[in-house]
Symmetry: D3
Subunit: 293 residues, 6 copies
């Protein structure tokens, strides 16, 4: 069960209206790596988890915090829009290039659809999608996904920080940056702990039998481009992170298999299934098949 309290975790009041910036903030509310994504992702991971205890509580504990972050951004966006020019004709202000420029850069649906309210979309107006959520049931894979989400999210907040001078907005972002710092550290710590405890190992999934894997290429870098510098990386020689072998470097594939022959499905799918010079055969074959009908 979820309970709501009509307070925020931190200040979320801007100094000034700014509809263009409101649109930009939509990215970290409703974008691929916005707060809706992490709130939903941690929730689904918690609901689908297969083990009790600390990992489960971790997922529940953070999921609820993230729903509160959606709220903080939504309230901020609504305030940034409150007194902004949103394209409503008023006196001569619309013919002012500066105002026109502002209006051109806004989310037009902020005015037309939500009436100066926040929306579950990203900064380009794409609606949030359930396909942003990753919850595979394998915790090492999922915690890596979570670390990635927090990294991309913090990166976007950091970029947004430098796109405004509003001290109220910056104050909110400084708080979100700090929480993203915590959450990055946390998922990395949790991924490590999973491995140290032996619950999961590299490569994911670690208990798939190695005998069923084509191991000759399990640790081999195969170069399909013509740059040579990849040979200098730690992925080209030395022990592999999974502890199962040594990296090797191969400049292009040394084996290949013939391309399978073209397929010839049932002629009643009406693909182009016969060679041109055998066109006479088409009528016959099809007619035979179709005769039965």
């Amino acid at each position: 069960m979820f309970f709501h309290k009509q307070e925020l975790q931190y200040n979320s009041v801007p100094d000034h209206p700014d509809a263009v910036y409101a649109r930009k903030l939509q990215e970290v509310l409703g974008g691929q790596y916005g707060e809706i994504t992490v709130a939903m992702q941690y929730s689904f991971q918690a609901w689908n988890i297969h083990i009790p205890g600390k990992y489960k509580d971790l997922l529940y504990g953070i999921a609820a915090e993230e729903f509160g972050h959606i709220e903080m951004l939504a309230k901020m966006i609504a305030q940034l829009l409150e007194k902004s020019p949103l394209g409503i004709t008023d006196e001569d202000v619309q013919s002012d290039p500066a105002v026109a420029a502002v209006v051109g850069g806004t989310d037009l649906q902020h005015a037309i659809v939500s009436g100066a309210g926040a929306r579950p979309v990203d900064s380009m107006g794409n609606p949030w999608s359930g396909s942003y959520v990753t919850a595979s049931g394998n915790l090492l894979a999922d915690f890596t996904s979570n670390a990635n989400a927090e990294m991309q999210g913090r990166l976007q907040v950091a970029r947004l920080y430098h796109m405004t001078d509003d001290t109220g907005v910056r104050d909110l972002l400084s708080f979100l940056l700090a929480r993203d710092t915590m959450h990055q550290n946390q998922w990395i710590a949790a991924a490590r702990e999973l491995q140290e405890e032996g619950a999961e190992q590299l490569p994911v999934p670690s208990n798939f039998p190695r005998s069923k894997e084509h191991t000759p290429v399990s640790h081999q870098y195969i170069n399909f481009s013509d740059g040579q510098d990849a040979a200098k990386g730690s992925w080209a020689e030395g022990p592999t992170p999974d502890g199962h072998g040594e990296f090797t470097y191969l400049d292009g594939p040394d084996t290949s298999a013939p391309m399978p022959a073209p397929t010839h499905p049932d002629s009643r799918l009406f693909g182009t299934t016969e060679l041109p010079n055998a066109a006479e055969k088409i009528a016959g074959t099809v007619q035979d098949k179709l005769h039965k009908e």
Copy 2:
């Protein structure tokens, strides 16, 4: 530039037709973590990269390999579909429950739309989307995203391995599993190397000034659920992976900010902006504003 060779990196011929399995394989071709995603993701990261040398060559080198993996899966899917029942009425076979069951589990567009060919969709028929691609320009964030993609991808291939007994299909999957093992190891190695060389650090982005972050909550676990076990994890005490502090544990937030007051945007957006008991005021206010028009 890309060049194509009409050979495959590895065998891709099934023993038997199996249209239901062909549909399942679409997941790792055109799903969120399928081969189109990694091929496109590594390509965009390469095209957008800001530094020359080994990381750039690594991205180009693997991107091209992944385009070849799309091809191997597409050829396999076309072969699995070639002789399968796809719902075409033939003798009395359609009334056989076993055939009906097979047809019910197929991707219907394999028959109707592509005529027994592979498609750029996932196992539920959702078309592949550009929103699956992550390429932020920050290499530590992106390599973590890549490690996640390879983990989720290998997990899915491992699951698919146990959903067929076809030795040809399993042979292909054993190869893909091995390459996913390599690529997981590789991105983890590359992420480590970036940090060891000082190009990037935790938290991402590492050169955002700490003075602009609300550091009191940068390493604090705040528990928003009622489970207590998260306090036992390595994310609740001890040094943080970013090396900047110590984790602390807080059982619920200890500070809060008041919920901002409701916003009152321009009345010509026709939101419900007045209290019910002040309804008389609506006419007046709006009339004033509208009078000008």
Copy 3:
């Protein structure tokens, strides 16, 4: 802020595994009128609201309940999937038509992607979309949207009730049906109250000046099909619900405007902008324009 408690509002344990039914339940979790939609819709309406008091508290109070309903369905789905055949090859069971039929009707991503866990998608596998959310800032419009969502939602749950004999599932659905009954009643009551208090009236938005509306057709039924029975409805004569007039019935439009002439945009958009018999003129016109470049 949101807080989570690791309990459910009501029982959510099935008697038996049933992966096909798990897929069907996804509709009321992640479909257009599923629990994610109402939870998000009421939240955004609350965050965007323009007036304090009872309507605001109503929105916050129900939004949090709905997040708990997502959870109840997600837990049920995971349990229905737990022991189900999901296409994993095991002994000879896969060749059994009954099992094949089951597997064909499942959400394949339940097995391949989430490893027997719930997902933020509908019963056909479409990911949940932010475009399902309505939050316009006009409370009468939005409460009508809410009533519609609860009606469609309860209708879907009622249909699902008769698609299973599992007493555990039916128990959960009997609870959700009751809550949907409450929420339908509630939004209808709230919409009435808004009107009785004079905060909003029909037609929405009620304070748009009538002088700016083409009122001759504001209450006129105009029939564009050849059926005659629509003339018998209460929308064809008698007072209009908005209290501003009387319905009239017109069997087809009695006025029209000429179709505007085809447009001729800039020739450098390379549309087909000239009449065929004037083809000679094309070269000239374009050449003139292009000459400047």
Copy 4:
């Protein structure tokens, strides 16, 4: 069957070109509550209807009118774009900030893709989606959905009215506002008539047996947030609109069920299914299972 006449229902000619406004108008053509949505929604409701007579004729009669409204908006948009600057370089005009502002606010695909023509998209460029359509077969639910669509639609047109001073555009909008007034009134009248005639009642669906519903919570407001004002509404006491009982108010849930235990699906789905301290068991269990293969 549909027939077309090359006339419009009302004037649709602008005074002046205005490409930014053309983009805004796309919202009510191809947005969630635009004319494509209502035309398609009423059509599908008519095609799927289960009863003959006045409701059927009503749906057919209005559906065809709405297709004509799509056309009026499409013609208007094409005319607004006809002479507008669309980013084509011409003399020095592109370096004029006013022109740049205009171009920045346009739908870029109006220039690049449709060559100054209308498109089936909303004001942010999202393509119209079949998921906007509601047609459930239950007429009370669907007429409520229709009333909502007309309310949201009229609200958006009212907002757009104040975003232009063009008398031609305003003339068209005044007509559409009037038709939306009619259609709101009409669906509300039709929903009432359904109930008065006993065809449908509240709650939808009304003939689902009450004995199968968990009635103790069918009329109970349960407060999951900490605001107290919702207790003052007509949804917290007094008779319910469905006529089946009395509203009651409960400040938070008074019952709960334990969270179901984590699920343990088949180990070959490779989720993290074992407790960390039992890691030794993983190898064994999996090996047993896998041994058979």
Copy 5:
């Protein structure tokens, strides 16, 4: 304006219920090349057209017919669903593998969402999208798009014809096949006429000045794969269809340009913009920039 008549252009009554086939028919109603697509595509081309006369009338005339085809398919689908098992539990029928197979192959939303009615989706449940529509304003390009749509559409109907034995369904399909034959012929004839009249030529757009095109590669086949047989085609030698030259064949590119150097955007976008061995410089550069803030 559109007018509706409650008759169909042709018979649309099935012999027997068949919910699986109803789902398949959705492809040609609401799929990429279904009837919604062509109805909308021809309408938008008509609304956006730049010239009066026969081409305009052609587009309007066929668009209205296609709306009627949507209707014929929708009525057929509703009838196929009317008496079909849709997963509703009834006696012991659900445990019958044959029934289970049928249910597994249905569009689950036909039962849960539309209550045995047609929907604006394709056979895999993807909602119809406005992105399927092509209307560029250039008639030769658009008529080619129309010819393609009719070809793909007729191909799909032909495949569907062999997926049923129902004489009522086949009767409807035989009519649609004939209309698709007409429409293919018609668009090809119209594309030819455009060229013969000189309104448009190959290549599209034909009045883009050749002097601005890099003509050395305008008629050159450049082979980027290792197959040699493409040299045998009519695209490798002989006159080009546009009449402007002769095809030539080149086995791989003979020129190239260096890959541009990696880009170095503003450091406040926090990409990885510095070489690892210059890590010391990062702090300095950023600090300088950030100092100003």
Copy 6:
């Protein structure tokens, strides 16, 4: 297999930064008819092909070239963004209307999400979709689709040519225009060759038995609008392109079928299935049915 070479086919370096133009170029990279579409479309057609030889080699040979075109555009976009104002606050430049206008017209995710890099989206920010790809297995249909894609693509590039004065960008576009000229010619030549060789004929699919088509309307223009000029076209009289008959013109349909009666599905789908005046019967019918449960 695909191999990559770190060179481009042609110059791709702009004179000046231009973030607004970078956004426009996204259309031909990641839009419906952009380079990702043609690269993927030709690849899937090649993988799904049913015949060996020249057509197969043609598809492979061009597919690989198109992947290189994605790369050229991606590199160009990254360079256009490199030094552009992207909304980062710097000195007082943000309050300059000219700069504000520029920022308003950019793809905001270029700054926030990709850090000045290219993205797999179109000019309005819609992610590229697998639904853009056509690969039906019928080569005449698919080559027509390819011709259409190259026509729409070249049209868009031609429009973009006139939206910039940058000589570097224009140089790249002049190259792409030339390749699109070649590819248009090539697909038209290939479609002709298929027909001349008898591999496929009009109408597609040509080997569907004519006896199963309702031939009376196979070559008949039926006019559903009130314009009369369509009768003047080559599609209204004279021989049909498929060589099977003569076009005829009919001014509106001369036959029709009655609209099928409304459907009455199972009452447990809770549609409105009874006439209002028979409301009493509802309870009975449903109760009977439900009694069994």
